[in-house]
Symmetry: C2
Subunit: 184 residues, 2 copies
Amino acid sequence: MTDERALRADARRNRARVLEVAAEVFATEGLSVPVHEIARRAGVGTGTVSRHFPTKEDLLTAIMSSRLVKLTEEADEIARREAPGTAFFALFTALVREGASDCGLAELAGTDRRLDALGERAGADLCGRLQSLLAAAQQAGDVRADVGYLDVRALMSACMSRREDPLEPILGVVIDGLRGGTSG
Amino acid sequence: MTDERALRADARRNRARVLEVAAEVFATEGLSVPVHEIARRAGVGTGTVSRHFPTKEDLLTAIMSSRLVKLTEEADEIARREAPGTAFFALFTALVREGASDCGLAELAGTDRRLDALGERAGADLCGRLQSLLAAAQQAGDVRADVGYLDVRALMSACMSRREDPLEPILGVVIDGLRGGTSG
DNA sequence: CTAGAATCGGGATGGTCATCCCGCTTGTTC
DNA sequence: GAACAAGCGGGATGACCATCCCGATTCTAG
């Protein structure tokens, strides 16, 4: 933040361009795209990428964490405004839509530990919100009591994997199912 | 089959041992385990593995296809005996349980194309049965009409990913959800 | 415009893996 | 039990990547 001033103008430009290209590439082609390829498309050398982001993970964190923070704020906003059940399903749906439109995020959300570990706390914060809202929704009887957080994560990931295909059917199935047959 | 006689006795033994070890290893640790490691655990050289199975994919096919054939027969059996809706959910559940107890199979089922492409037809046959039963169940009004085969695959994969954890909750969610709220 | 530091590019390095190859060993046959 | 083919082991090869490094370049201060 404060040392952004310390970067030479061209360096700052390159850094921004790498971030932009990487976000685009990860979103459309997933996380397995080589760093080399990102550098190529950004029109810089691989050295430039790895100086700004020593590790691929660092690059990923730089891209995702602001996004996760935003989603976390959104989650808090929803939690404040809505009843527990409504809030949980609203967050679930929002996360699914976010992941469905971003291949990289969906991959991240797919393997449990990966998302939670991202950034200093960004990933863990967001996951915590989902977990809290789940608990609250179950408390309120709006979500079946027997499902666990990891069940929800697995179902979320399944929905995300449908990508740009119509999400309504699978979201419908999962949300109905989570509500349980009894509360109608 | 017929050329099994043509193998020298020790070669046949080695081949069997490799198959056995690979099945175990893939099941418990997933498909990313190096061939090298399978050879090591089987107590043979890597050359021995790749002579019997020139490609890792060949090894995988040898392990899985008999299993897939058995599941396909089971599917036919179920389809013959049960009403469409019952049959579909029974197959779905059976596949989930199978995948949940075998990390490798779950991985295979996770990426759409991978399972269908396995073996000469083994994978495609099984997938075809699932697809047919889905259609029949939808025809009979036992499964929501708006879900597609790929939605079912995604949900199946999500259930499998819960591994040895209790499957009832997530299976309950998915099956209830697939039935839809209307048909009671 | 010039010196000097910050950056750059992309080749070098090191690690992981599947697959191939070949000199050596072992089973099989007569 | 000898000869020979079948099979063995594991090192060699080649692909693919992330990450590191350093001589060459470009920015910026003065």
